[in-house]
């Protein structure tokens, strides 16, 4: 399934990241987190590390989101997006929070890593009542446009150099917050840059977001950033688990972000609010899907 790569420990001092029995991991962030739930490679690779433990993931990633929760505001003013982000995390009662922010901020016209760093710290402060362990993922590096796109690239220059610096600064900001707060820092940026230098850029199809093959191909980097070495996994079991993970993620997505939300819970709920009960039905299905993941993990072991 995944080639065994020569791996280095995350840092000399940090012990490998560990999940524990009963852990509920809530993943927040921008498209990098959101899209992971559709492919499930990173989540599955982690679950396979502890096949006997009961660990559940809830992915709250949202395209275009920032540490201000701006993409979640919907009809409301931007500040409401942040409130929703905090509430959504708390509602899931996390014991571990994965934070994947910084990519959107790094590509803004007036990118400001200092502001980002402060707001990330505020976010963690506002999430601290959950007492969850926090893992801060760095943004991922941009790949040059020349190797991507439907036409095999245009060779047109993008603001690559500036972007590359900005992503690096935002990575450093995440690292600084991690160090000050005593959180685990998963430096995907450094790890992937290293890998890119070894193997060329092949993980994205738009320079920014990982394709299905990209998520699969970066499993070793993802785990390495957490200090975990990856010796691959028995492909049949990995696939079975991943399939169960995708089912759970799909059900959860429909519960967390149902279509027609305006009519179910929003300002037109007097019209279709009666159908909101359907969304509630999903909760039991998600629990069953969690159990199925456990079953697939333990089978053929």
């Amino acid at each position: 399934m995944v080639a065994l790569l020569a791996l280095l420990p995350f840092t000399a001092s940090a012990p490998p990241f560990e999940l524990k029995d009963g852990d509920r991991v809530v993943w927040i962030g921008s498209a990098i987190a959101e899209r992971e739930q559709k492919y499930g490679y990173w989540e599955t690779a982690l679950l396979c590390q502890w096949p006997d433990l009961k660990i559940t993931f809830r992915n709250l990633g949202w395209s275009g989101d920032t540490v201000e929760g701006i993409a979640r505001a919907s009809f409301d003013p931007p500040a409401k997006g942040y409130e929703r982000l905090i509430k959504a995390v708390k509602d899931e009662k996390p014991t571990v929070i994965f934070v994947s922010y910084g990519s959107v901020e790094a590509l803004e016209k007036n990118a400001d890593p200092v502001k980002f760093e402060k707001q990330l710290e505020k976010l963690l402060e506002d999430l601290s009542p959950t007492k969850a362990r926090v893992v801060l993922f760095s943004p991922t590096p941009s790949e040059p446009d020349s190797l991507t796109g439907p036409h095999g690239g245009t060779g047109q220059p993008r603001e690559e150099v500036t972007q590359a610096f900005s992503v690096k600064f935002h990575t450093q900001a995440v690292g600084a917050v991690a160090e000050r707060g005593g959180h685990r820092f998963a430096d995907l940026h450094t790890q992937l840059m290293k890998n890119a230098k070894l193997n060329g850029y092949t993980f994205t199809d738009n320079g920014l977001h990982y394709s299905e093959a990209g998520y699969e191909g970066t499993i070793p980097d993802f785990l390495t950033s957490l200090g975990i070495s990856w010796a691959g996994e028995e492909p049949k079991r990995f696939d079975a688990v991943r399939k169960a993970v995708l089912k759970k993620n799909e059900l959860y997505f429909h519960k967390y972000r149902p279509q027609n939300e305006t009519y179910l819970f929003g300002f037109r709920k007097h019209e279709q609010g009666k159908n909101a009960a359907e969304v509630k039905e999903l909760e039991k299905m998600i629990e069953a899907a969690d159990r199925d993941i456990q079953k697939q993990l333990s089978q053929s072991r």
Binding site: S30, A31, E34, R35, W62, S63, G64, D65, I70, A71, A73, S74, F75, S103, V104, L107, E108, K109, S142, D145, G149, P150, H151, T154, Q156, R158, E159, D205, N206, G207, L208, H209, S211, E212, L251, H254, R257, P258, Q259, N260, E261, T262, Y263, G266, F267, R268, H270, E271, Q272, K274, N275, E278, V279, E281, L282, M285
Partner: protein
């Protein structure tokens, strides 16, 4: 993935299946009679087709089900996005919506091959073949699907863009189209909030709009903003963009890059409008092109009134920088309840294809997601051909050579040309680029434009051909060039430099074509600088029109960060033309410009420019500037003072400007109000009293108190209000004194009302004692309104009413005020009912009663009688609702309500207005920091202000900073609207509404009829005016007349019985004085057609005109006055704008 399901010759089988299906229908039909027989032939026979055309079935279920959008590929295959999951996925359901490809392999006009290209999708709302597969809208994403080898289902998937909102499944991104420039355009509806990460940064669009995406560079931008449901998008032969909207009711829209169009919660302070106000909802858009269609159809827009079961046709004509659109006879109309045309496209054979969603139910807001009547299995593609005209030979483009493609690009069919461009877009290589570079295109405009577009699609530089493009003779071709270049300039920097080169700019901005000038204006924003802003203003040197002025306004706003700093330093070169500068300053309304504006006013103290500059300052200035203007008002010309002072007062009130630091002395003016003087001076002085209140000029207290006691009417009212605005203990004492001891009842009432803003409890106690003593109905309405529109007001008044007894009529008036308030208070309802010894409040009708009414309406109701009920003054339907664009704008337009809403829904809406509220008609309830409650439908929210439209059709502007709470409210339609009707009248009304929009006497009107009128009633003021001067004065000084609204009937006639008469003197024939408005967008001769000239005298803006001759008009709004001699005329009035005039004009509808 599995191999594709592909079946040739499926049609025979289809018919057998259909026959079987129809057998099962009776059982279903018994459960609900509204499900029609699904036999396509029955549906086809219901079509009334435009003369000279016929319709055949191209494909039907089970080949496809629930088509949403269609697009063609170069092989002539029809791709369909289809969804059986719509409107909502069930819990745990695995979505399995499909992309289907239909093919007519033997060219007989009937699809004989169907292929499932992809399945497992979730409500795919669009499909666009391209780049070796197809782009598909799949909920939050746009994905690109392709096959690793031909003949199998798509097995390769790439996420192209993600982060689109899903707040409403009929708003999801939709309507994918390739633009002539090679970019992909797609639309988003109003409830959607999208946050899309791209390698060039994150792009966000909260609300409706049109996106533009370049697959080649991955650049994504918002091309235009607004709309509710822009479900139609198409480009004409010359590259101009048009759209339709499935809610806004403005028909065909000419889309200008970067512009905003109306939508709920608009962020833009100014918007452009569609060309057919009063239209029903439309879906899909095609522009007729090709040899199969007759010449007089070329360039016409085809769209679908899916609620009214009609495929509509509009004819466009040039009108200045934009167009004018006129509805023609329908392509198809039908009364088949499941015929739902939702997309329309001309195919490779030149015929018109129509996607039929086929469903008796269409909405999913008002009708339950799980309503069993929702059809999930049917769907049709209809094909319209012109009888006796040859079809177009299908072009063979898929494997064509370079030369063959260039040859094909000369085709008159847009289909062929767009496919050729796609071939170049997809096969771009250095070789193709080189061959294009070497090619010398024919020099006619058509070939030149096509050559340019091919280059753009192939990603080849077009800088070398720019000069030739600008020299094109046909201005329709030339006009689109700046716009197309703008799109491309963003990636090609050298082009940008060439275009903004100064001499060229000067020439281009004064091009003979206004549409070209408009394009140039928009192009200027690509190279933002103070110089380009100054250049933009040159457009004002030539005649303008409203669209051109909008484009200038928009451009100046987009460039403001560049020219404002220059203006502040005195370096903004506006050619010393105050008109230009005023336009620029007014466009941005930036406080930053005030000091420089002050200097300019000083410089122009003795020039004719002063008033315009002063007015600008009144709108923009701060407290100090306004105080200075108030002090110096006498230096302004007498004729300008009232307008100026009105602007100053409004500015202070709406912008809540604080008291200035410098003293303002207006005592003499306030005192002057004690003695009568001329009307305009009194109006100015009253404004000063208001300002004294806003600024709490408490030094004027004795003068105001004297004014309140010694004067009456408006003078007294403003004085009492100003004292209340002081809000201090002294005012409270004085107001309480008047409230309890004043001799005149009106002063007591005014004082109580004013007190409510200072001390609600005291005002409540005083109100109840007034009511207990007696009090008039008028006072009850006035005072109770004051309480229900204040925070906690209703509760406090209810408490004060406890164990009191008041006259039952007062209680009734009070209850009406409560019912009409944003949140009717049950406590106050109960208190008033008790105090007035009224019976218990009326109970809500039961579901069974509603059902019975719906059944009886169809059985016993009469639409003609119903229209008379609808037009009754006391029910006020027309005050809030429009039909064919005529009537109030508070509630939804009812033009096609009958074709879309079930009868029970109509009964519900009349009896229980809050049960199901039309999209966009929910109120926003706002409480201000001052404790005022406002309720209205949101018009826009921009620049720190929220604008609501209240139940009286008035716009209320609120500062966002002043808003304390804000929540979604109810409808503005008052409960009990139809309470005064008898059951029979109600049935007639329901029947009438049920017929609106259906084929027949009440179908949507196409003729450009005058439907919105105003008339002079015989009020004392009007009679005085007419007797003092003469009736004709109404044409010269419309503002001096008091007008009331009148509307034509659905058939376009205004019965004279509904029109007021005035009889000036005994023995003089009774007359009617009426007006309507015409908006002229391009000067020329105007022709008005009237059913009979008997007894009519006509005026345009005060000048008498003959109706049987062309009338020369200039650009702008014109008022037409008709004076009707009622002795000489009894016939109803029916007035139409005649198409044959050279002027471009539109009848103004609305209220």
């Amino acid at each position: 993935m599995n191999t594709a399901f592909s079946s040739s010759r499926i049609c025979g089988l289809a018919r057998v299946c259909l026959a079987l299906l129809t057998l099962t229908i009776p059982a279903k039909a018994q459960r609900d009679a509204k499900i029609p027989d699904p036999d396509p032939e029955i549906e086809r026979k219901s079509f009334i087709v435009a003369p000279g055309f016929e319709v055949n079935l191209f494909a039907a279920d089970p080949m496809l089900a629930k088509p949403i959008q269609m697009n063609w590929d170069a092989r002539g295959r029809l791709w369909l996005a289809t969804s059986e999951t719509y409107p909502q996925i069930k819990p745990g359901q695995t979505p399995n919506d499909k992309i289907i490809i239909l093919e007519d392999t033997n060219n007989d006009g009937v699809a004989d091959k169907t292929e499932v290209f992809a399945d497992g999708l979730l409500i795919p709302t669009a499909v666009l073949p391209g780049d070796g597969g197809a782009y598909v809208a799949n909920s939050t994403e746009i994905i690109h699907l392709s096959q690793s080898k031909p003949g199998i289902k798509a097995d390769k998937k790439r996420v192209v863009l993600s982060g689109f909102g899903t707040e409403d499944t009929h708003h999801l991104i939709h309507t994918f189209r390739w633009g002539p420039d090679g970019a992909m355009y797609f639309n988003q509806s109003v409830y959607i909030h999208s946050h899309v990460e791209t390698p060039h940064g994150t792009k966000r669009l909260n609300g409706g709009g049109i996106w533009r995406y370049e697959p080649r560079t991955q650049k994504l931008e918002v091309f235009a903003r607004g709309f509710w449901n822009p479900w139609g998008l198409q480009f004409d032969k010359y590259g101009q963009m048009f759209a339709t909207d499935g809610a806004n009711g403005e028909g065909i829209v000419h889309v200008i890059p970067g512009a905003s169009y109306p939508t709920g919660g608009n962020q833009a302070p100014r918007v452009l409008h569609g060309m057919n106000p009063g239209s029903p909802k439309f879906c899909g858009l095609e522009i007729v092109s090709g040899r199969h269609f007759p010449d007089d159809w070329q360039g016409d827009c085809i769209t679908n009134d899916f609620r009214g079961h009609r495929v509509c046709r509009f004819k466009l004509r040039d009108a200045g920088s934009t167009f004018e659109s006129r509805e023609m006879t329908e392509v198809i109309k039908s009364n088949h309840p499941a015929f739902r045309p939702i997309d329309v496209s001309i195919g490779p054979d030149g015929a018109l294809y129509i996607a039929d969603w086929y469903n008796p139910i269409i909405q999913h807001g008002e009708v339950d997601f799980r309503d069993p009547r929702r059809d999930k299995t049917h769907g049709r593609i209809w094909r319209v051909t012109a009888k006796g005209r040859p079809l177009v030979e299908r072009p063979k483009l898929a494997n064509a050579t370079f030369e063959q493609l260039i040859e094909a690009s000369k085709a008159p069919e847009a289909w062929t040309r767009s496919m050729v461009r796609r071939q170049f877009a997809e096969s771009s290589s250095e070789n193709v680029a080189y061959r294009l570079f070497k090619l010398t295109p024919a020099q006619d405009d058509h070939s030149l434009l096509e050559y340019f577009l091919i280059n753009a699609n192939a990603g080849v530089s077009h800088a070398p051909m720019m000069a030739a493009l600008f020299e094109m003779k046909d201005e329709r071709y030339r006009a689109t060039i700046p716009q197309l270049l703008t799109n491309l300039m963003r990636t090609e920097k050298s082009l940008q430099r060439d275009l903004v080169e100064e001499d060229l700019l000067q020439k281009l901005l004064t091009d003979a074509s206004p549409r070209f000038r408009l394009g140039m204006l928009r192009a200027l924003t690509v190279d933002p600088s103070a110089a380009t802003a100054a250049a933009a203003l040159k457009v004002l040197d030539k005649p303008t029109d409203p669209t051109l002025e909008y484009a200038l306004w928009l451009t100046l706003r987009e460039l403001q960060n560049h020219w404002i700093p220059a203006f502040k330093e005195g370096k903004f070169d506006y050619g010393n033309d105050i008109k230009k500068l005023s336009f620029a300053l007014e466009a941005v309304q930036s406080p930053e410009t005030i000091p420089a504006l002050s200097q300019l006013i000083a410089k122009n103290a003795n020039t004719p420019h002063r008033p315009a500059l002063q007015l600008l300052m009144a709108k923009m200035g701060g407290s100090e500037e306004l105080a200075e203007m108030i002090e110096g008002i006498d230096r302004d010309p007498i004729t300008e003072r009232l307008a100026l002072m009105t602007a100053i007062e409004q500015s202070i009130a709406s912008r809540r400007l604080p008291k200035p630091k410098t003293a303002v002395d207006v005592r003499l003016r306030v005192q002057a109000l004690l003695k009568p003087s001329n009307e305009s001076q009194e109006a100015i002085d009253r404004l000063l009293v208001k300002i004294a209140g806003h600024w709490k000029l408490t030094g004027l207290r004795p003068d105001l108190e004297q004014l309140a006691v010694a004067t009456s009417g408006a003078n007294r009212e403003v004085a009492v209000s100003a004292l209340a605005e002081f809000g201090d203990a002294e005012s409270k004492v004085k107001l309480t004194e008047w409230a309890t001891q004043a001799q005149e009842p009106i002063l007591r009432i005014l004082a109580i009302k004013a007190l409510a803003s200072i001390d609600l409890s005291r005002a409540a106690k005083l109100t109840t004692s007034l009511f207990v003593e007696g009090g008039s109905e008028e006072s009850a309405a006035l005072l109770i309104n004051e309480f229900v529109n204040r925070k906690n007001g209703a509760a406090i008044l209810a408490k004060a009413l406890e164990s009191k007894t008041i006259r039952s009529d007062l209680a009734k008036v009070g209850l009406r005020a409560v019912r009409n308030s944003p949140n009717p208070s049950p406590a106050l309802t109960e208190a008033l009912t008790k105090a007035g010894s009224l019976g218990a409040a009326k109970k809500e009708p039961t579901a069974a009663e509603i059902k019975a009414l719906a059944v009886d309406a169809l059985k016993l109701g009469d639409a003609a009688r119903g229209e008379l009920v609808y037009r009754r003054k006391e029910i006020q339907c027309m005050a809030c609702h429009a039909i064919n664009g005529a009537g109030g704008q508070v509630g939804p337009d009812l033009t096609s309500i009958g074709a879309s809403a079930q009868t029970d829904y109509l009964v519900d809406s009349l009896l229980l207005p809050n049960k199901a509220i039309k999209e966009g008609y929910h109120t926003v309830d706002v409480t201000t920091a001052a404790g005022r409650i406002h309720s209205g439908v949101k018009v826009r929210e921009a620049g720190g202000e929220l604008v609501l439209r209240d139940k009286d059709d008035k716009e209320i502007t609120l500062k966002l900073d002043d808003i304390e709470t804000r929540r979604a409210g109810r409808t503005l339609m008052p409960d009990g609207t139809v309470e005064s009707l008898t059951r029979a009248e109600l049935l007639d009304l329901v029947r009438f509404l049920g017929e609106l929009g259906k084929v027949g006497a009440y179908e949507p009107g196409k003729a450009p009829l005058v439907r919105t009128w105003r008339m002079a009633e015989a009020t004392p003021e009007n009679m005085n005016l007419f007797r003092r001067e003469r009736v004709g004065v109404a044409a010269e000084k419309p503002a001096a007349v008091t007008w009331s609204a009148a509307y034509s009937r659905v058939n376009g006639e205004l019965p004279l019985a509904d029109v007021a008469t005035v009889t000036t003197f005994k023995g003089v024939a009774p007359q009617s004085v009426m007006q309507f408005k015409i908006a002229v967008s391009s000067a020329g001769d105007l022709k008005l057609a009237v059913n009979s000239p008997d007894g009519l005298a006509a005026y345009i803006d005060g000048t008498a005109v003959a109706l049987d001759k062309p009338i020369p008009v200039t650009v702008g709004d014109k008022v037409v006055t008709l004076i009707v001699n009622r002795e000489k005329r009894q016939t109803a009035l029916r007035m139409t704008l005649d198409d044959s005039g050279t002027a471009r004009a539109r009848i103004v509808g609305g209220k």
